[in-house]
């Protein structure tokens, strides 16, 4: 009995290690918890064991497929196979997200669609530097791009994010009984009435970035803006699309902006392909709508409106999008041309359904955008 429980503990530690290597946040606390969990449910039923371990180790449903595969390899496979299952190549040069996919794919390709495998493996194969070279937009020199980035970061830094709470007010607003009484108890003779007022509610931003061929230089600047915003405010959602929509919000947690952009480069799989704005917005509405859109959400849509898909679909999706958030701001880099008119099919539809386009082709226009957002939030507009 002791022998078998020892080996169970050993396997729990192994499982935790494998999950950690695959990028799941499993700490020592979780591992200890898993040990107590197994003690509590026992090892008689494999399904219960799996469930107990998942309950203790996982904190996101997305990690479940990975967990199940690892569990099978460690607790169900015969001992001789365990070494093989664990000998997952994890080159130190690759970053955590890529390692995670490599580990997941190496162990359990069956539950994922096969067409998913190839581009991911290609992305893993491409080194970071190479990817960067492919994604580098030659419009600005390196030093210019740096300077522009600093400009954006500084613009964002001055934008403070309020929390929707009460704050003390000097002017009479709403009577603050709590503070009045506390001050009265402290010094009954000097105390007067205390007031409070509502703080403004913070805006939530959803950035949707067109990364199709015609957009690359502006997409990069926009992604830098997204990163700067995310460093200041955690309620930023980021999506990119050309032919299909990819959610990039998690990648924005990367502290270093260059590494963040490199990761985005390897994650988005349709850089430089044609644009299907309608399909992307439909997917945004359908799959992420309830999670990211709301009455305090501003959607920033960066696209030139050169739609290859069906304009009718775009119209439906754009109308729904405008209804499910406070405002959709369309950022159109083509406004750099003084004579630009939204004549392209997609642009015409967007011009009718969302607010008039704003420029987004230089740092100044993006800084102005941030300032307007701050005004919007403070209720000055």
């Amino acid at each position: 009995m002791t022998r078998s429980s020892e080996s169970v503990t050993g396997r729990i530690v192994t499982l935790a290690g494998v999950l950690r290597r695959a990028g799941v946040a499993v700490g020592t606390g979780e591992t200890l918890l898993a040990t107590s969990a197994v003690e509590a449910v026992g090892v008689e039923r494999v399904q219960d064991l799996a469930e107990a371990l998942a309950t203790a180790l996982l904190r996101r449903n997305e990690d479940r497929a990975l967990f199940d595969a690892a569990f099978d390899a460690i607790f169900i496979a015969p001992p001789s196979d365990i070494d093989g299952a664990l000998a997952v190549p994890a080159p130190p040069a690759l970053k955590a997200t890529q390692r995670r996919l490599a580990a997941a794919l190496a162990r359990e390709p069956a539950s994922r669609p096969t067409e998913f495998t190839k581009p991911v493996l290609q992305a893993i194969a491409a080194s970071e530097a190479e990817t960067l070279r492919h994604r580098d937009f030659e419009q600005m020199s390196v030093s210019e791009a740096r300077a522009a980035q600093d400009l954006l970061r500084r613009a964002v830094r001055w934008w403070h994010h309020p929390v929707r709470r009460w704050r003390p007010s000097v002017r009479p607003r709403v009577f603050d009984a709590r503070r009045t009484i506390r001050e009265f108890a402290r010094s009954p003779d000097a105390a007067g009435l205390a007031w409070r007022e509502r703080r403004e509610s913070p805006l939530r931003l959803v950035l949707v970035c067109d990364v199709s061929g015609s957009m690359s230089a502006y997409a990069r600047a926009f992604l830098q803006l997204a990163h700067a915003l995310a460093r200041r405010d955690r309620s930023v959602e980021l999506f990119a699309f050309a032919t299909r929509l990819t959610r990039l919000t998690r990648l924005l947690r990367t502290v270093d902006v260059d590494e963040c952009l490199a990761r985005i480069g390897t994650t988005v799989r349709d850089w430089d392909s044609g644009t299907r704005i309608g399909a992307a917005l439909t997917r945004l509405n359908r799959e992420f709508g309830s999670r990211v859109l709301g009455s305090r959400t501003i959607v920033l849509l960066l696209t030139d409106g050169l739609e290859r898909g069906n304009p009718a679909e775009l119209r439906l999706a754009a109308e729904r999008l405008t209804r499910s958030c406070r405002a959709v701001l369309w950022l159109n880099p083509l406004l750099r041309y003084a004579q630009y008119e939204p004549l392209a099919r997609g642009a015409a539809v967007l011009a009718q359904t969302v607010t008039p386009a704003r420029p987004a082709h230089d740092p100044a226009s993006l800084v102005a955008l941030v300032r307007d957002l701050a005004d919007l939030e403070a209720g000055r507009r």
Partner: protein, 287 residues
């Protein structure tokens, strides 16, 4: 009507005395878990519904200011001028309003209560941080009164519809379980348990229909709560067997988005009805 997986998670939450975080689509019965748990264990259920801007005053405690002001006035009339005496009489436990979290920390006759922190994803991040503190020590400090500590920690169930990701620090304090949509057999059991005496044939059709409808591309797939509503609606109308007409008329109980309804009526009802009728061709002809 819990699946074995959920039962294991709940058992662990009780045994290891850890909060249990339940995530899942709306209408899969997350709140029901806490309610049932309280009922089965014979404990009190204390519910904290979260919303944006929820703070300590709404969740933990608040002073009853009106009564405090009265107390001050009474003290004035009585000629009481000593600051200490005044402070003690104003901040008397009698004037403390207990909000759900404070209630949960206090002793209950039936044993530690079940504390349901519902839809935590609706609260904001500062509240999450505040909650973290409570969940780690099960004690609070009220400046005027001192520290209140739970004799026996409450059984904590948190639910989230996943409208946003929760902070990792909070998740780490909890055990985690994802509640998915139930399979047909389980859902039928739930339906029968919640609506005793329903017609089994109709219930089977309803479940088969809803299960297939969830696979369609919809803005919001119907949850178990919607299945129950639909069954109720069909029964109220005296429908004995699901037909395209009766389904279309009552689809509003299942689908709550105009786009979904249109799509459902235009392309889903007839096709799904044909699909679920196939295994039993004898009925399809009559339907």
């Amino acid at each position: 009507m819990a699946t074995r997986e959920l039962a294991v998670s709940v058992f662990l939450a009780l045994r290891l005395q850890r909060p249990l975080l339940l995530e899942g689509q709306s209408g899969v019965g997350k709140t029901e878990v806490a309610r049932t748990l309280a009922e089965v264990l014979g404990r009190d259920l204390i519910r904290l519904q979260c919303y944006e801007g929820l703070d300590a005053a709404g969740a933990l405690y608040e002073w009853n200011y009106l009564r405090q002001l009265l107390e001050i006035r009474i003290a004035e009339v009585a000629g009481e001028r000593s600051r200490e005496a005044l402070s003690a009489s104003v901040f008397d436990p009698r004037f403390l309003i207990h909000r759900p979290l404070l209630q949960a920390l206090q002793p209950h006759a039936a044993g530690a209560p079940v504390l349901l922190i519902d839809e935590i994803d609706r609260a904001d991040e500062p509240f999450e941080a505040f909650l973290l503190e409570i969940l780690s020590d099960f004690q609070v400090t009220i400046p005027e009164l001192g520290t209140i500590r739970a004799v026996e920690p409450p059984i904590v169930i948190l639910t989230s519809n996943r409208t946003r990701e929760l902070h990792d620090a909070l998740k780490r304090r909890c055990l985690y379980h994802w509640i998915g949509y139930p399979d047909a057999a389980t859902e039928l059991d739930i339906l029968q348990a919640r609506l005793p005496g329903i017609e089994l044939r109709l219930a089977n059709q309803v479940i088969a229909f809803v299960q297939r409808l969830r696979a369609e591309e919809l803005y919001k797939a119907p949850g178990v709560a919607e299945s129950i509503d639909w069954m109720r609606a069909l029964t109220a109308l005296g429908v004995g067997e699901l037909t395209a007409t009766s389904a279309d008329l009552t689809l509003g109980a299942l689908l709550k988005h105009q786009e979904d309804l249109e799509r459902g009526r235009a392309s889903c009802t007839e096709r799904i009805l044909a699909e679920i009728a196939e295994p039993r061709p004898a009925h399809a002809a009559g339907g």
